[in-house]
Symmetry: C2
Subunit: 248 residues, 2 copies
């Protein structure tokens, strides 16, 4: 058996998320079907760096799997791509040490979140951005992003239903760029881990800060109160992109 | 009653085409539902400049309809937009003479067709381009586009099932641009009318000419033979955009 690490981009608009589910079109399902076909029916189990929800996109999701025989990394790339639907591509392929594990080996991840700020959203952005047609000051959002850097308890920013007890995570980088021609806000967050819906809840809260409906340093209060009810909104899945996954 | 002319853009990926169909999500259906609601239940019939198929997009579809009362053009724009789903926007609104008719008044139309030329298509282009991952020479396509200008019998380029007897149409402009950063070919065709699937069949044939699988002047032969079997392919709906509709 050979251990492979593949970097995968996908348009999540027409997937029921990453994780395999019976009878539903999922990214893991599509990948495992292709690899199992290549392995002449022997089931290949794909490990992802983490799940992405229905409608969430990936520019650089990472997967790993054990495959019988020793296909070169390039041939693996070509073979899998030839079996992919058009909304999934393999961007990179490597043969890695047997102990590489796409989920357990993650040291940090970068998520991007794109927000269309137009008064009426561009009809071609519906599945590819969130939407915030209200006034905002980028400066206020930047102030709040500074509060985000470092180690914090993100209990206020975790969707209920998660099973993880420890909600302390470290954010290394958090930026926002306003793209004039597209009238889009582009957020990027790099951290050692993200709770369920954490980026989407953060973005909804940051937009309220930008709009002045919350004080600029409201994140500090939200870290203290540890109460999901206080953060309220969740930005839609359509704007979220898993951009990059980092390993040791 | 007041007669309105609206310019509409839509992402066709999640519509079963323009034309109203029972129980299916169509652009005409969405527009008529909104207008009928605005008119307090009085059914408003929307006339489109022409149909677009499932998956075909519009940058500038034109519709007209008679509406009770005299809402200003700007207020009509705002009211309809407030009732549109995110994948449809009204870009312009005018009050027009009673004899304006969005279909009968058309004097010419411009269609755009986008082709992703990457070896593996970008997963985010699946629903928004056609795909041609083979070599081509733009020069050959340009030569063929010159043959297209003028009045021709397009019988070889009409999908069967059409009911129109006269298949002579005039093409005023036909261009192709290769966009380096996106690795896309962008075709534009302006003509006094287009038969069913005509643009998509033309694009498939033009790509074969660009690739060298057909002689550069094969269009001239295809105009002569008047045989759909000779043109063969049909480029996918996903790359087609109704760009502009012109009236007297």
């Amino acid at each position: 058996m050979t251990n492979y690490k593949l970097t995968v981009a996908y348009d999540g608009a027409n997937f029921h998320g990453f994780q395999r589910q019976p009878k539903l079109r999922t990214v893991q399902g599509v990948l495992e079907k292709a690899l199992t076909k290549m392995a002449k029916g022997k089931h290949i189990e794909v490990i992802g760096s983490g799940r992405t929800d229905a409608g969430v996109h990936a520019l650089g999701q990472v997967i790993s799997f054990q495959y019988p025989g020793k296909l070169g990394a390039d041939n693996m790339l070509k073979a899998v791509n030839s079996l992919m639907p058009l909304d999934v591509i393999i961007k990179n392929s490597e043969i890695v040490a047997d102990d590489f594990h796409a989920r357990f080996g993650v040291v940090k991840k970068t998520y991007q979140y794109r927000v269309d700020c137009g008064h009426y959203t561009d009809p071609f952005k519906r599945f590819y951005t969130g939407h915030y047609p209200y006034p905002f000051e980028v400066q206020k959002i930047e102030t709040a992003l500074n509060d985000l850097i470092g180690e914090h308890d993100f209990s206020s920013f975790a969707a209920s239903g998660g099973v993880i007890e420890n909600k302390v995570r470290t954010i290394y980088q958090a930026t926002v760029d306003y793209s004039q021609p597209n009238n889009e806000l582009i957020f990027e967050f790099t951290g050692n881990g993200f709770l369920y819906n954490m980026v989407r809840i953060l973005v909804a809260t940051l937009l309220e800060i930008g709009n002045g409906r919350r004080p600029e340093h409201d994140l500090l209060r939200l870290f203290e109160v540890k109460d999901r009810q206080e953060a309220r909104g969740t930005a839609p899945a359509s704007g979220l992109y898993l951009k990059e996954v980092f390993y040791k």
